[in-house]
Each structure stands twice: as structure tokens, then as C-alpha cells.
């Protein structure tokens, strides 16, 4: 065991897989010689060579499109998109090709591409370096979507994603790359070494996709969330002095419905939280699923606490971000509803 930041854990996952499986190759903008703008691939080109850790042109569609071809030819590509906000030029290749290749070819062809990309706000990135577009992916059939909330999960889930023969879009909440963040930008930054999720084995291990983590257990309500918001929810629950199940979805697709169900059946009350805006967000699916599965146990409407339905503004980052106060207000609504 050693202490790792989420960046180091991701680097370690890539390192382990490059070492273990000679077919794994990395492709992305600035990931090679430079080691990535967030340094997730630092040192890997030096270690594995420029033919396995490959700098790419600034062409997200070309990165995904060529990765598909590379995967069809027996290699196992891990593509980095520098910011989730820049994944859109690659959407056609993801939606029309990557997600459907196995299906349309009757199972004869597939391409095991993993697409890693940093997402979320809280780093003063303004409207083009803060987005959380996970809902555009979770609606697609044929790909899985993952977003870890701590280094341990990041490494274990990324290894599973790379090993999977199904394509995975792997979102990395960049605000918590270097430490957990409870939603209060005025507090001194915490290090991952202060968090149990910062204990990360050096070697190989994996966490299967499709399993949510119950981060905290309690009885008053269930909070379903993922990414940075897991930490914000924990802080809010503590502040509220209540007892809640906090569920870190981790694997957005496939979704671990059973864990949500057990929790909400127990608590009867549910709050869903994410950074992305509300309308049509992933929280809509979580809400719809929970009301379908647990209707008869629900004692209050399921509440969604999310980003506002505007782009993510630079100046009002902390008014946009669904911080502790918003979660607290949401908890109050859910608990007081009669």
C-alpha cells in the first residue's frame, strides 16, 4: 500500500496495464513526451516508448476513430481526451461506431477502446473546462460509463475498463485529482493522504464495473451521487447531523440498481446529487429508476440537487457548483416533506 493522489492512481493503473498487457497502448494530446496536461501519463512514454504512449494531433474524432481501428487490429487502446468539454468532436465516432460495432456486425467485430477524460468544475475553468457531460453517454447502448470519486476506485475501475472488451468512457473529476474536496473553496485544500481512498496498492487489482459503493450508512435518507459530489454530500450530512446512506454510483452504466433499491427501501427518502445541470441529466435517470423500484417505500419526493441549467460560469463558479448549502436545503426538503 502506498499513498497516491488520483492522478498517481490513474498513472499507476496505466503503468500496471502497459506492463501487464503488451497490447495496451495510449493515445492522446500532449500525453507522451510531456506526460499530459494533468500529468496522468507522466513518465510512461519514457518507460514504454513512443510507440506505446503516443502523442496525437489535436483531433478528438481522429483519436477515437483511429483508436477504434487500432482496437480492431488486436491492440487495446486507451485514449485521453484532454477535457470532457472537448470530447464532442469525437461523439460521432463514439455514438455511431464505437458503441455499435459489435452489435451491427453480429458480434464479429469489436474494439475495446477506453476513453479517459477529466470532467467537472471547481478549478476556475469557466464554461469550457468545467463540463460534466456524462448524461450524453449514459443514454447510449453499447458503452459503459464510469466516474470514480477517489484514487483507490480510480485505479481499480480504470484497470477494469481497460481489460473490458466493451468500450468504456471513463470520467475523471479533475477537482479531486489532487485531494478530496468537500465543496467549500475557502477551506485549505486536503490531501488524498488524509482520506482512506488515498491508500492505493502499487500493483494490479481491479474493481468490477456495475457495483456502487455505500460510502456511509444511515437511516434518515439515501443520497445517491458520484464523483466530486460524494465528498460534498459527506460534508453536508455531517453538518446536518443526520444519518444517511451515501451511495457512490461509480459505475453510471451499468448501474447497480440493487444497491440503490436496498438503500431507499430502508430509508424511504432519497436525494440525488450531481454537478451537471438538472434537466435531462443523469440524475433524471436515477430519480426515475428509484421511483420505479421503490415507489411504495418512498415517503417524500426524490429531490435532485444539481448544477443550474446554464453553462458553467467562470465568475460564479461557487454559485453554480451544488455545494453543501444546496445539499443541505435538499436534505431539508426531503426530510421535512409530508
Amino acid at each position: 500500500m502506498s499513498q497516491m493522489t488520483m492522478i498517481q492512481a490513474i498513472n499507476s493503473a496505466l503503468d500496471v496495464m502497459l506492463d501487464k498487457d503488451p497490447t495496451v497502448i495510449l493515445l492522446g494530446e500532449d500525453i507522451g513526451y510531456f506526460g499530459g496536461v494533468f500529468r496522468c501519463t507522466d513518465g510512461l512514454q519514457k518507460k514504454y516508448g513512443e510507440h506505446r504512449v503516443i502523442d496525437a494531433p489535436i483531433a478528438e474524432g481522429g483519436i477515437i476513430g483511429s483508436a477504434i481501428g487500432i482496437g480492431v487490429n488486436g491492440l487495446r487502446p486507451v485514449a485521453e481526451i484532454q477535457f470532457a468539454d472537448y470530447i464532442y468532436p469525437g461523439l460521432d465516432q463514439i455514438i455511431s461506431e464505437l458503441a455499435r460495432l459489435r452489435y451491427r456486425s453480429g458480434g464479429d467485430y469489436f474494439s475495446p477502446v477506453t476513453v479517459r477524460t477529466p470532467c467537472g468544475g471547481g478549478i476556475r475553468g469557466g464554461q469550457t473546462h468545467s463540463q460534466s457531460p456524462e448524461a450524453l453517454f449514459t443514454h447510449l447502448s453499447g458503452i459503459n460509463t464510469v466516474m470514480p470519486s477517489n484514487p483507490y476506485d480510480a485505479k481499480g475501475l480504470l484497470i477494469s475498463a481497460i481489460e473490458s472488451d466493451d468500450p468504456v468512457v471513463f470520467f475523471e473529476p479533475k477537482r479531486i485529482y489532487n485531494g478530496p474536496f468537500d465543496g467549500d473553496p475557502d477551506k485549505p485544500a486536503l490531501a488524498w493522504s488524509s482520506h482512506p481512498g488515498g491508500d492505493v496498492p502499487e500493483g494490479y487489482y481491479s474493481i468490477p464495473l456495475g457495483e456502487a459503493a455505500v460510502v456511509e450508512e444511515g437511516d434518515d435518507l439515501s443520497i445517491i451521487t458520484y464523483g466530486t459530489m460524494v465528498h460534498v454530500a459527506q460534508a453536508a450530512v455531517k453538518k446536518a447531523g443526520i444519518s444517511a446512506d451515501i451511495i457512490d454510483v461509480r459505475s453510471l452504466v451499468p448501474l447497480d440498481v440493487e444497491t440503490l433499491k436496498q438503500s431507499v427501501e430502508k430509508t424511504g427518502r432519497c436525494l440525488v446529487a450531481h454537478e451537471a445541470s438538472k434537466f435531462g441529466g443523469y440524475g433524471a435517470e436515477l430519480t426515475a429508476t428509484v421511483q420505479e423500484e421503490c415507489f411504495w417505500h418512498l415517503q417524500a419526493p426524490i429531490e435532485r440537487v444539481t448544477g443550474w441549467e446554464t453553462p458553467y460560469p467562470h465568475a460564479f463558479e461557487w454559485d453554480y457548483f451544488p455545494g453543501q448549502d444546496r445539499i443541505l436545503a435538499g436534505i431539508r426538503n426531503v426530510l421535512e416533506a409530508v
Partner: protein, 414 residues
């Protein structure tokens, strides 16, 4: 407000009712273009993108340095494949008209490209076809019964009923899965060739795209990655002059040939008479030699003409002269190869007629066999449960439950 508009709107040389006019097509004499060493630097052979490599002259005689040495038996086999493809297209077109299949796309007039190129590639090379490459499937050994079964979405459909007709693939023939989304296969081919280079293998890949589709982003991505990483890939633009109703000027073809599209990136381009099987073969062999011996991509523009409608949903008489094909200066690839074989003493009109008749029967027999695996309306049919397979490698729990829901509802109904 548009009276003074100075926007340039490309106009085809002829519309319905007009005389066909191909004066815009730059032609070279058969045999006129010199054959450079395949490893010649791109900058020294830029003229190849503007010239037109032609081997067969108007009399059907092979001319010049590009004239390949091909055994007559091989040429006869090529002719057979082209004729077979045309018979297949004819049959399938009629079957669509009779409501037996939902849709079809003919490749009439473009058969020399698939067949001539197919003769060059090895089985271990990987092909990323477009929807007018049926002859390439046939050339690489896909049974026409399998092509038909795909169009029928029946129990022998390699796509398991998931795709519209003509979206074939053949894993064992290294024929990639055809996509309904134009141009997406182009970066796949480049990526595949990159992997081939990374692995140190000498397999090449090749992809086909239409003139109209070159306007898509994936064309640019593919060319850029091909220029940067120099993988062994043969990129083909099949310029059949039309993209549904728009002529090639709407893809930017009015000023420079498509073969020149890679020049700004240093990718060599060769423009070839796509209706001349010998020229297509020679240019492809040149490009493959280049890829295998010196690495790197080649862009080939095949100048041809879309002899039929875009698809069974299309009516070209609305937007181009009915007789445009017959005025096309590069003729019909089948007739030209036939003429060459007759001229060189290896073939006759009678043999041709007999072969055609035989292939017609082959196709009829194949159709009979194909429909024995089911049609849109007649048994046997695919098991509806298979609809939930292959979305993921394993069927997830969610899809198993949806499958059960469907079965319950169908059960309740029947």
C-alpha cells in the same frame, strides 16, 4: 435580397433534358503517364494527382508503363467477378422492387475498382469498404448467398438482422463492417494500419469513400493521422461524379481533383481511370508496394460514374440527364475489359454471352438458397431473443429483463 448575391453555387454540366457534358473531366491518353518508382518522394510525383493513369486505349489494347502483367486466366476471372456482381445487383434491385428486401444499392459501373484492387491485396490485408464495394466481398471470397442473406435479414445474415441491406461484413475475409454513417471507416483504416505498423507486421489496410463523403470530418482526420504516423494504408476516393443528387462540385471537386486532397499534407495522390481494370490494378499494386516497402499512405482517386440510381429510394432522372452514363468518356468497365480480352484473343462475344447466362443462373440458384434461410415475411426467421445479444459482450441483466418483457408481451399476444 439575393439579387446581388455573389455566392458561388456549383452547377453540374448538365441537368435533365440537357446534353450530357463531360468536358470538365481532365483525361490523359492511355499509356501517356510515366510509371515512377513506388518509393519516389511525394513531392516529385504531384502530377499523378492531376493526370489520369490509363492502360486500356479505345481499342482495348494495354498501353504504356503502367500496363501490368496479368495472366489471361486472372483477367477472365476478373471479368467473371464483375459480371457476377452486375447480375447480383440486377437481381437484388428487382427483388427490392418486388418487396422481397427493404432496400438495395447497386454498384453498376464501378465494378472494376473493387475487383481490380481486390486482386492486389492479400487475405491478411484489412479492407474497410463502403456500400458500393460488393464486388470486393465477392473477390475476397464472400459467398453471394451470404450477401443475399444479409439483405434478407434472415437466419444466415452475418449481421443477425440488425442492419439495413448492403451493410455487410466478413470477418474471415478481413472485410470490415459497413456503416450507415458516411466516412467513419476512414480513420478506422488508418488506425488499423497504425496497429499493423506498431506490431511490425507488413499488413496493409485500405478504405473506400465516395466523392461526396470527402467533405466529412473523418476524411480529414484520416488524412491527418496518415500523414503524421505514415501507416501502410491505401485510401480510395471513388469519384462517381454524384452524391445522391449533388454532383462532385459540392464536395469541392470543381477546381482540383480529389487525388490532390492529401498533397497539402504530403500524401501522394494518384488519379486513375476507375473503369479500366488494368489501370486500377496497376495503381493499387504501386501503392501497396509503396506502403510495404517504404511505408506511408497513398490516396487514390478512381474516376468513374455511378451507372444506376443512388439507391432503390432514389430517382436520378430528377436531377441528371437520363443518358449521362452512356456519354461518360471512360465507358463501362465490363465492356472495356471484355473488349481487351477479345482483342487479345482470349475471349469472344459468344463466350461472354454464355458466361453471363451461366452467372444469371448462379445468381438465381443463390437467391433460392438464400431465401431458404428466410425472408422478411417467410420463415425461418431469426430468434427475436437475439436482438439483445452483442450490445455488450455479455448480455447485461437489464437487457435480459427487457428480453423477458418482450417475450412475455409476445406470448400474451399469441
Amino acid at each position: 435580397m439575393t439579387e446581388n448575391s455573389s455566392l458561388h453555387i456549383p452547377r453540374p454540366s448538365a441537368r435533365p433534358g440537357d446534353e450530357p457534358d463531360f468536358s470538365y473531366l481532365a483525361l490523359s491518353e492511355a499509356g501517356a503517364v510515366r510509371y515512377p518508382d513506388p518509393c519516389t518522394p511525394a513531392k516529385d510525383i504531384e502530377h499523378l494527382a492531376g493526370d489520369l493513369v490509363r492502360v486500356l486505349d479505345d481499342d482495348g489494347v494495354a498501353q504504356g508503363e503502367w500496363a501490368p502483367e496479368i495472366e489471361p486466366a486472372q483477367l477472365l476471372e476478373a471479368l467473371r467477378l464483375m459480371l457476377l456482381t452486375r447480375q447480383l445487383d440486377d437481381r437484388m434491385h428487382r427483388m427490392q422492387r418486388q418487396g422481397k428486401i427493404s432496400f438495395y444499392m447497386q454498384s453498376i459501373g464501378e465494378e472494376a475498382i473493387s475487383v481490380g484492387q481486390g486482386m492486389v491485396f492479400k487475405p491478411t490485408d484489412m479492407m474497410f469498404p463502403s456500400y458500393r464495394n460488393q464486388a470486393l466481398f465477392i473477390q475476397r471470397g464472400t459467398d453471394i448467398v451470404d450477401l443475399m442473406c444479409q439483405c434478407l435479414s434472415n437466419t444466415r445474415d452475418m449481421c443477425k438482422g440488425r442492419q439495413m441491406p448492403i451493410m455487410y461484413h466478413d470477418r474471415k475475409a478481413n472485410m470490415f463492417s459497413i456503416s450507415g454513417n458516411l466516412a467513419t471507416q476512414y480513420p478506422h483504416a488508418v488506425g488499423w494500419a497504425m496497429a499493423s505498423a506498431i506490431k511490425g507486421e507488413d499488413h496493409v489496410s485500405s478504405a473506400w469513400i465516395g466523392d461526396g463523403s470527402t467533405a466529412e470530418a473523418d476524411f480529414h482526420y484520416a488524412l491527418t493521422f496518415a500523414a503524421v504516423y505514415q501507416p501502410p494504408v491505401i485510401l480510395n476516393v471513388v469519384n462517381n461524379q454524384w452524391a445522391i443528387s449533388t454532383f462532385q462540385g459540392f464536395a469541392g471537386g470543381q477546381r482540383r481533383p480529389f487525388a490532390a486532397r492529401g498533397q497539402g499534407l504530403g500524401i501522394p495522390g494518384v488519379r486513375v481511370d476507375g473503369n479500366d481494370l488494368l489501370a486500377v490494378y496497376a495503381v493499387t499494386r504501386w501503392a501497396v508496394e509503396r506502403a510495404r516497402n517504404c511505408g506511408g499512405p497513398t490516396l487514390i482517386e478512381h474516376v468513374t460514374y455511378r451507372g444506376g440510381a443512388h439507391s432503390t429510394s432514389d430517382d436520378p432522372s430528377r436531377y441528371r440527364p437520363k443518358d449521362e452514363w452512356s456519354a461518360f468518356p471512360l465507358g463501362d468497365p465490363v465492356k472495356r475489359l471484355k473488349q481487351h480480352l477479345i482483342k487479345s484473343g482470349h475471349w469472344s462475344d459468344e463466350q461472354h454471352e454464355a458466361l453471363n447466362q451461366e452467372l444469371k443462373e448462379t445468381v438465381t440458384a443463390a437467391w433460392k438458397e438464400a431465401i431458404s434461410y428466410g425472408t422478411m415475411n417467410d420463415a425461418p426467421s431469426l430468434d427475436v431473443r437475439s436482438m439483445f445479444d452483442d450490445v455488450y459482450k455479455e448480455v447485461p441483466e437489464r437487457l435480459k429483463r427487457q428480453r423477458q418483457q418482450l417475450l412475455d408481451i409476445k406470448g400474451a399476444k399469441s
